[in-house]
Amino acid sequence: MEFGKLFELVIAASLINNFVFTRFLGLCIFFGVSRKMETAVGMSITFTAVMVVSAALSWVVYNFVMVENAMFQGSPDLTFLKIIIFIGIVAAFVQSADTIMKKVSPTLYYKLGVYLALITTNCIILAVPLINAGENYSFFESIAFGLGSGLGFALALVIMASIREKLEIADVPAPFKGLPISFIIAGLIALAFTGFSGLITL
């Protein structure tokens, strides 16, 4: 296991192939919660944590259960079920995290619980396990990829939230108020992010 490779993977997933700006995933959440800095930070923390855990969980299930001959000699190849199984894993994990958090730490639940419920509809949460499986990443590479994607999403969310807070007092033409202008801003940020391409070639 090389730390250099893992570090590269984190950088690549967070900056160069930033999920929001170059792969366009997780946009619903991105535009939904980036109105206020506070919610953006809450979502970022919850999301990164869930991302890392679900990347690890789905790696284990994929490599020890679904691949041919993984469980025992002659066990069937279940990889064609990966969409159903991965979404099942994520949904089950989010649901149980929700329940446990409510019981163990009501304060934390009060702060972050609402984001937890939203996470299942975030496309990134499904894309990361699917990409991990498609690229045949090792266990630690999968975790690094999950972490990088989480951080990249957090970065995008925080940038966007800080701009949108300023935008509240700006004089935007009426039809462009709210979402349309946010899209245009995202376009400009995406243009800036293309500057990162070519930083590392994996």
Partner: protein, 208 residues
């Protein structure tokens, strides 16, 4: 929305325009940018969504009385994932070239908020036929939005339409770059808001 009292035609129209997934509700935005750099990709994904949305609404409505409300979310997710797997396999076999480009996004249909939202808001409370029609309408609304966005992006970015070359000379390369997708959707959304405000006296999009 409580139990449906609209006629079938109203349902269809509502899904296509009044509650258009992308321009009015502003959900399921990821594909609206990711696969709209060419009309072929946009149409392919739109058709997949029409299929999944109709079938999911049909199935959810069929079993709505048996599902305990507490566990409905995982169950809806599994139903959606099942249909997405079907369309994923079909497209990887019969539409290989398109699938190579947008395969990941076909699989991501599972996490589309719009599909879940229609199942939760409408199909879990209404009879089978209206539910299927509602799903079909909302799917077609999505397809229309994809066609409109990819029309402008392909025309301006590559000078082509559906793969046929129309305009010679230097196209606006930015339109097929990631950034152009955001710009195109933002401008179109603003335009539709303007129409709504100017001619129909609306208040503009929900403004998430």
């Amino acid at each position: 929305m409580s139990v449906n009292q609209k006629s079938n035609w109203e349902l269809l129209k509502n899904g296509m325009f009044g509650e258009n997934t992308i321009f009015r509700m502003a959900i399921s935005l990821c594909p609206s940018i990711a696969v709209t750099n060419g009309m072929k990709n946009g149409v392919a994904l739109g058709v997949a969504v029409v299929f999944v949305q109709t079938m999911v609404n049909f199935t959810v409505s069929l079993i709505r009385t048996f599902i305990h409300p507490k566990i409905r979310i995982p169950i809806f997710m599994l139903i959606i994932a099942g249909y997405v797997t079907i369309i994923d396999m079909l497209m990887s076999t019969y539409a290989r070239p398109v699938y190579k480009e947008i395969g990941l996004y076909i699989q991501i249909i599972v996490a589309f908020a719009s599909i879940f939202a229609r199942a939760e808001v409408f199909a879990s409370k209404n009879k089978i036929i209206p539910s299927a029609i509602d799903g079909f309408g909302s799917g077609v609304g999505f397809l229309l939005a994809m066609i409109v966005i990819s029309f402008f992006r392909e025309l301006l970015g590559k000078g082509e339409l559906y793969g046929y070359s129309l305009i010679s000379g230097n196209p606006l390369l930015i339109m097929i770059l990631p950034a152009g997708g955001f710009l195109a959707v933002g401008l179109l959304m603003g335009f539709f808001n303007w129409i709504d405000m100017r001619f129909f006296g609306g208040k503009g999009a929900s403004g998430v």
